[in-house]
Every structure is written in C-alpha cells, then in structure tokens.
C-alpha cells in the first residue's frame, strides 16, 4: 500500500495524541482531538492515505483508548514508530490499525513523503528508494488486526 507520512517527533504522549478535554462518546468530538495537543485541527488536514510516523515511545502515559479510536475515526490505517507504549500497541491492534516498529524511521522520513508499505514482507520503501525492514506480525496477531474487534466505522470527516 502507498501512504503519505504525517511526521511527529520522539516521546509523543497520549495527552498530546488525544488531550483529556476531547474525551467523549461522540465520534465527532473524539476525532477533533487527534494530535490536538501538538497541532490543533490536525484532523482537518488528514487525507485518505495519511499515516502517522513517529519516533521512540509513541503514546506513553495514559491508556485512554480515545487516542487509538480517534486514529481509527480519522482513517489512519498504519502507525510507524521506533517504539510504542504497550497501551498504544495493543489498542491499535484491537482497532485494526497496524503498529509497525521500525528502527531509525523518524530521521529518514519527511513530512508528507510517500511511503510504500509491504505488511506481509515487513518492509517500507522510502521516496529515494531506501528500504527499511520490520518484523511482520505472526499470523495469530494479523488475524486480530484484520478482524478489527471494535467496529466503530462512523465516518465523521
């Protein structure tokens, strides 16, 4: 799949990914909180093929699942980071979002760079042709991601 990278830094916490004031059961409010701790109204700039690229420890702090839910609502299918908090990792898997751990990704990708992501093979090809690798998910986990056990498909954009 070909995706457009939206790039954030290292150590992005859940309170930045989804500030507490956007906690709601209303998808229209939840989606507005996406990355709002860093870039208010980020959700309005998200296009269909956008994914998140970040550095070390994406999603540390709170385990509030509204962060992963906001990603799902905005149509983010993949997050590539050097590492994830265990909450963000598990919540993404349960919401059908692929959390890919790729060493050194942050320094290599520019904002809005186009990336080719090969999930089965475990590789990402950058615009300059460089290929980066990640451990593909075991079949058991792949099944969980594809089954997307939280079927919140509300289109709010």
């Amino acid at each position: 799949m070909r995706y457009r990278a939206r790039v954030f830094g290292h150590d992005i916490t859940l309170d930045e990914i989804h500030p507490g004031k956007y906690f709601s059961l209303d998808p229209k409010i939840v989606v507005k909180g996406l990355m709002a701790g860093i870039e208010p109204n980020f959700y309005q700039t998200v296009e269909d093929d956008d994914i998140i690229v970040s550095g070390r420890y994406f999603g540390m702090g709170s385990g509030r699942e509204s962060g992963a839910w906001a990603m799902q609502l905005a149509g983010i299918e993949v997050i590539i980071a050097e590492s994830f908090s265990r909450y963000m990792f598990r919540n993404c898997i349960n919401r059908g979002i692929w959390p890919l751990e790729v060493d050194g990704i942050l320094d290599k990708v520019d904002e809005k760079e186009m990336l080719d992501v090969y999930l089965e093979k475990g590789s990402i090809v950058l615009e300059d042709g460089e290929e980066l690798y990640f451990e593909p998910f075991p079949q058991k986990m792949e099944k969980i991601i594809k089954s997307n056990i939280c079927q919140r498909k509300d289109d709010v954009r």
């Binding site: 309170d15 930045e16 906690f23 709601s24 701790g37 908090s85 056990i149």
Partner: protein, 396 residues
C-alpha cells in the same frame, strides 16, 4: 519449565513467549468504561463477582455529558450483574487496595496506573477499552511474558521521592517490562503504593513488591489473612538492576515525569496552585506530612491549595485524627475523594501561564489544563503553598 523471573511465575510461560492467561479481577472506572458500553451490548460478563466498578473521574460530574456517563455506568453494572459498584468511595486504585486485591493475583484495570496493585504483591496490569471488553467476556487475555528489571531501594524516607528517583534513572526504559522492587529499608504500604503507582510512568507492564510481613499486617486491617510467598527473580535473570538512594527531596519539572531535579535546583519558582492528591498520593501519611508543615501557618494569599484524600476510608481517618480541621484552618480546600484536577477533567484546572506543584504522577502538556505542572512530595507541596514559591529546603 524452571521459573527464572517473577514475570514467568505470574504468567506461567517463558520470557518472550505469547501466553493466554486467566485474570483474577477486573477494575472499571467511569473515565474509561463508557468506551466499552457499545461493544458489551448483549454480551455476558464471565464472572461479575470478580469485577469492581468505580466512579472517581466524574465524581460528582461537572457536565451533563459526564453525568450521562455516570448514569450509564450505573445502568451497565445493574444489567450485567456487577454488585461491587462504588461511588463517592474513593479513587479506583486506592479502593482496589482496600481489601480487594490480594497477593499473587493478576488484576486487569481499565487504567494505566493499575501497576499500583504491585504494592500488595499482585500484578496490576492496565488495559485499554477494547482489551477490557475481551477480558470481561472471556476472563482471560494474551500476554507476551515480559523481561524483568530489578530496582533495589536502599535509602529514602518518602515514597514520592523514591518514585521520582526511579523515573529519573529508568525514564521510559521499562516499557513492556516488569519492575520488581527489593525493599531494603522496610517501606510502609502507603509508600509502596506510591512507588508502584508511579512505576506506570516508566511504561512498565507491572510493578511488584514481594508480599512480606508489612503486606500481611496491612491486609489484616481488612480482615484478610494472607500467607502467599512470592520470591523476587534470581538477579542474574533480570535484564537490568538499578539502585535507589534518595538523600534530598526531588522535583519533576515540565513536561516529563522523568525530568527530575533536586529541590534546590528549582527553588524560587512562583506557584499558583498546589494539589495534594491523585492515585499516587492523598493517603494518610501524605495528609500527616501536609499537616506537619501547615499547622499554625496560612496558605499564601496568591496560592490555591487543593487536597483530595484518596478514599473515603482515608478521609474518615483523617477527620478522626483532626487532620482535616487543621488543613482547612490553614486555608486548604478539601475536595471529596476522587481523581480531582490530576487528569484535567475536574475542579482545579490551570489557566494559561499558571504553575502547579503536586503529588500526582504526570506533568505532560495539557495534563491539568493549560499551565505547567511540577511533581513533588507532600511536604514540598505544603511548603510551596505557604511560601508561594518552591522552597529551598523542607524543615519542620
């Protein structure tokens, strides 16, 4: 299989292995439980008697939407047969540790500070709402058996300072791992609760103090007889060892809990609000520390001092001891046992440019409204409330 670490003992698998493990108890709270209502529609809970539901985030609710969450949670527990539903009883992690969590158990909490239960020799593990739905339906979930980090506590006289010292050393490096504590100085359960709670800030999956005589005596206070013996890991099987020796009070400065400095490095900083409370604190020992500083003194005219006892049980003890009266007399505002301003959703939010010093566990941007948050022990916080600035030292 030879058990090499405490993580292997709890999960019954080898380090790195994926295992499916049964859950002993589940904790739900009003802050995150609303996200499971839709997915639990028409589903049965595997064992409602193993589930505790707590109203503590929106307690009492400050908006109509939050009032609806609390109402819906009440309806949810009725419909699903959960009888242990607590409103106005205290903060979830505190009430779980008041006679609910037992040594040796695996407890799943719908909250990242569930690591707190490690103070009592249990594995408290936090989950998001989608995992919690699976656990409620099946009573089990998957784990990857984590690596274990040993932390030896060698010196220190306050749980918050020991915790801040740990955060400074480990930062986020315990992500996906267990932290086990070798307590060489005989910490009280209050202090262990603070340390295990703040272990969540390292990313740890679980924190663990082996149950000992102190644990046993504490549980006897709730009419629980517990003889469980769970040893620490063999040290050579831990991936890392850190020693903690705290000699002076510490302060975490914005915007990471691990940005820890000694008190003298941050003294003089002007303070607008002081908050003593949250699941990291607000226990009897913290309230006693605050009284020790505040008795016969007055809160600075430019400072708001907000205090939340961590539970009703603690509040009643504090009333009996005369602590609450002394705190109110000094100018403190006492809120009912609840999360309070810590997660940025209840009374006590900061305006832009304001600064708060607090015993809570997080100081991320936006955590408590718009301002900056510093983390410190109850005495440092109380001194700041009197002086209007972070003090040079704490002496009583």
């Amino acid at each position: 299989m030879t058990i090499k670490t405490v993580s292997e003992r709890f999960f019954g698998g080898e380090e790195g292995e994926f295992v499916v493990k049964e859950i002993d108890k589940v904790m739900l709270h009003d802050g995150n439980a609303p996200l499971i209502f839709d997915d639990m529609e028409g589903e049965y809970i595997w064992d409602p008697d193993r589930v505790t539901s707590v109203v503590d985030h929106f307690c009492p609710p400050s908006t109509v939407e939050r009032a609806n969450f609390v109402k819906q949670l009440g309806e949810f527990v009725d419909k699903k047969g959960i009888t242990d539903h607590l409103e106005f009883e205290g903060i979830c992690h505190q009430v779980m540790c008041e006679g609910r969590v037992l040594p040796g158990e695996i407890v799943a909490g719908i909250d990242s500070h569930s690591t707190t239960y490690g103070a009592l020799g249990a594995f408290g593990i936090g989950f998001g709402s989608s995992d919690t739905v699976q656990i409620l339906k099946e009573g089990k979930t998957w784990f990857k058996v984590p690596e274990t980090i040993r932390v030896e506590i060698l010196q220190g006289n306050n749980g918050t300072d020991i915790a801040l010292s740990m955060l400074k050393k480990i930062r986020y490096d315990a992500n996906y791992k267990t932290i086990e504590f070798a307590d060489k100085i005989g910490l009280t359960i209050d202090d262990r609760l603070t340390v295990a709670n703040m272990a969540a800030e390292t990313g740890a999956k679980a924190a663990f103090f082996p149950p000992d005589k102190t644990t046993k005596r504490y549980l006897e206070g709730f009419d629980i007889q517990s003889q469980v013996d769970i040893p620490l890991s063999e040290e050579e099987n831990c991936v890392k060892r850190e020693d903690i020796s705290v000699k002076e009070p510490l302060v975490a400065v914005p915007y990471k809990p691990y940005n820890v400095k000694t008190l003298s490095k941050v003294s003089g900083k002007t303070i607008d609000q002081v908050f003593i409370g949250s699941c990291a604190s607000g226990r009897l020992s913290d309230l006693r520390d605050a009284v020790e500083v505040l008795e016969n003194k007055e809160v600075h005219t430019d400072v708001r001092l907000i205090i939340t006892p961590a539970s009703k049980r603690i509040e009643q003890k504090a009333l009996k001891e005369g602590l609450i009266e002394k705190l109110v007399k000094s100018g403190a505002v006492i809120l009912n046992p609840s999360c309070g301003p810590c997660p940025g959703i209840d009374k006590g939010l900061l305006a832009e440019g304001e600064t708060c010093i607090t015993t809570q566990n997080r100081n991320y941007p936006g955590r408590m409204g718009e301002g900056d948050v510093y983390l410190a022990n109850a005495k440092v916080c109380a001194f700041s409330a009197v002086e209007g600035v972070i003090p040079q030292e704490v002496q009583t």
